[in-house]
Symmetry: C2
Subunit: 369 residues, 2 copies
């Protein structure tokens, strides 16, 4: 006998992984990456004060972390200017997206998202037996607010997902446009507004924190600009009643003690964050400038990465990606039609960017010879 039966939804799931990690690629190919520019991490790292806080607390890890993440939540509430009960903290945005799907989705439910938007969200949707309805990006490589809204009004989905700024394209909408979208979505559809890249966006991109509706959850993270991807700390902001739902199913002791300490210390060092954001902006400009010189069309970005239109099709962009990988440069590319002409390069250190662009230049020159 084969053992106990999996739940029907689970048995029907494909054994997919939303992102194949760089270490997995290294083990498969046997090639060690020389530059790690594929996961939108911050090579500028966390603040030295965060590093000191982690090292200083290393001997305290025999206790469980605070199940309410109180100190971090209090610090976030003060920093954002919103009551503590409008915040929940979880194991990265990925963890919170999983919980959100479990809170709201039942088999047969539908969600609306952009074609090529965050695959980890779709992974969690599938695990609930729900279905994704996708909307193409607009001709400026933005998530289409009008397209998403039309789909929401037609499909009447349980959830609509929108990232601002967007990943994988790096594009963004002004706060006023986002607010208009939020106000137009019927209240029985939950809006997941993923603001993972909010810190690196121009002023005026994030709607005010006071934009609260029962059907709106905004997701932010310490993984990107704060340089703490490996610590897994994300948070969601929303109306207290909506936020309270997470307490019904979350893993109450799930955020590690050091993660809480690190995130709290990171939040306290806004000077360091400001310097990181400046370094990211400079790196973004450098990637744009170098790739333009190569005849490619980098897309303006509000994030810590740049999507680069390689001027041809999926096959060409995939060839460039594979070539870079073979030379030890870890980048990614979108797979979805409409976006798959692009590769995506995270902002690395100046040295990493130079190395990656040199390799890209060699591949293109060899190709055109």
């Amino acid at each position: 006998m084969a053992g106990p039966e999996l739940a029907a939804i689970i048995a029907n799931l494909p054994a997919t992984v939303p992102f194949v990690g760089p270490e997995v690629i290294e083990r498969k190919t046997g090639i060690k990456f020389r530059a790690r520019l594929g996961a939108n991490e911050s090579p500028f790292g966390p603040s030295p004060k965060v590093i000191a806080a982690i090292a200083g607390a290393a001997s305290d890890v025999w206790t469980y972390g605070d199940s309410e993440n109180y100190e971090l939540k209090e610090a976030l509430a003060r920093h954002l200017g919103t009551p503590m009960e409008t915040i929940t903290i979880g194991e990265g945005i990925d963890g919170l997206l999983g919980l959100t799907c479990r809170l709201y989705l039942e088999p047969g439910d539908r969600i609306v998202t952009s074609l090529g938007a965050y695959p980890t969200f779709n992974y969690h949707v599938a695990a609930q037996g729900a279905e994704c309805v996708t909307v193409p990006y607009d001709k400026n490589d933005r998530e289409s607010l009008s397209g998403l809204l039309d789909s929401v009004l037609g499909v009447k989905p349980k959830i609509v997902y929108l990232a601002n700024p967007d990943n994988p394209m790096g594009t963004w909408w002004d706060a006023s446009e986002i607010t208009r979208f939020v106000e137009a979505v019927p209240e029985d559809t939950l809006i997941i507004l993923d603001e993972a890249y909010g810190e690196t966006a121009p002023a005026g991109t994030l709607p005010p924190i006071t934009l609260m509706r029962p059907n709106l959850l905004r997701y932010r993270t310490f993984s990107k600009a704060y340089g703490l991807a490996g610590m897994r700390v994300g948070y969601a902001i929303g109306a207290p009643r909506t936020i309270a739902g997470f307490d019904r199913i979350r893993n109450h002791f799930g955020v590690t003690k050091l993660s809480q300490i690190a995130a709290t210390a990171a939040l306290a060092d806004q000077d360091y964050l400001a310097r990181t954001i400046a370094a990211i902006a400079a790196g973004r400009d450098e990637i744009i400038s170098r790739t333009k010189t190569l005849g490619l069309k980098p897309i303006p970005s509000a994030t810590n990465f740049v999507a680069i239109d390689c001027g041809a099709d999926d096959t060409y962009a995939t060839m460039l990606l594979n070539g870079m990988q073979a030379h030890g440069i870890f980048i990614r590319k979108p797979a979805a039609p409409g976006l798959n002409r692009c590769i995506r390069m995270s902002v690395g250190t100046p040295k990493d960017i130079a190395l990656a662009c040199d390799v890209l230049e060699d591949i293109i020159k060899t190709e055109n010879r």
Copy 2:
């Protein structure tokens, strides 16, 4: 309008928290705990080599952890003498129990567990809309293998949960009895064998690692004897096909980078683990000896805590618990009928144990005056 509707299962959940953390109690009562003996943590902490490894890696946390937890899994496989594909790693046993419930349970399904066994498992069961059928402990305060088996054969549940050694009573069965139980459970019932306290149990308590069946998953953790509760690393061992199920729904990047590093370093320092286990055994003996002197009946324990029969009813044990809490001693007590005459004290440092037993003595003497 109230916003989007929660999924029916979730809407019906009580807003319970399986364990109220000590920090939460401190904030509620305004009393700071002087001794932390309620969460079965290890005050002996992790190995100094683990502390050094965490501190040494603190600046590397800008990268996500390895999504396959490869190095830790490889080290565990070597240490346990079992292939890598028989192991999955997750955010503590709590995280893995949640995933297990999602993999197997559908609304209306039933599980069998002991009345008073691990409440966090029941919490995850409820989140799937499944129901718990409970079996009383036996007269020796052990989980009743015959009772559980009878219930399994009658109820035909999707899952049966068994901890060996047990929490909250600290009792245990020999490996041969556990093996007999495992072999008697029909293959369409998944056996969750929780071995969180396996390291502190007498030789001959854990069945050999080669006990593999499609319906058996064994759960272990770095939170207890290894002193890493705050890092959230647990693992499950089982047949490769059963283990592979976790990849369908787990949060692939969910185990933090430092958690992987810390657990790998902890596993490598078996000398330190041996010293910790000796210190735990000594502390257990001290708790038993002190509480016997007070006229209480400590129950022999294979874990890092001692359940103490206070010789009366729930009310009396609760009075002792509350008294200790008011004097800054964090302990817990079982709530279930049959077990609720007991309080449960984790093994602390000799100083903590002395303090806790002094306070307990004062309360009992005052009570008897």
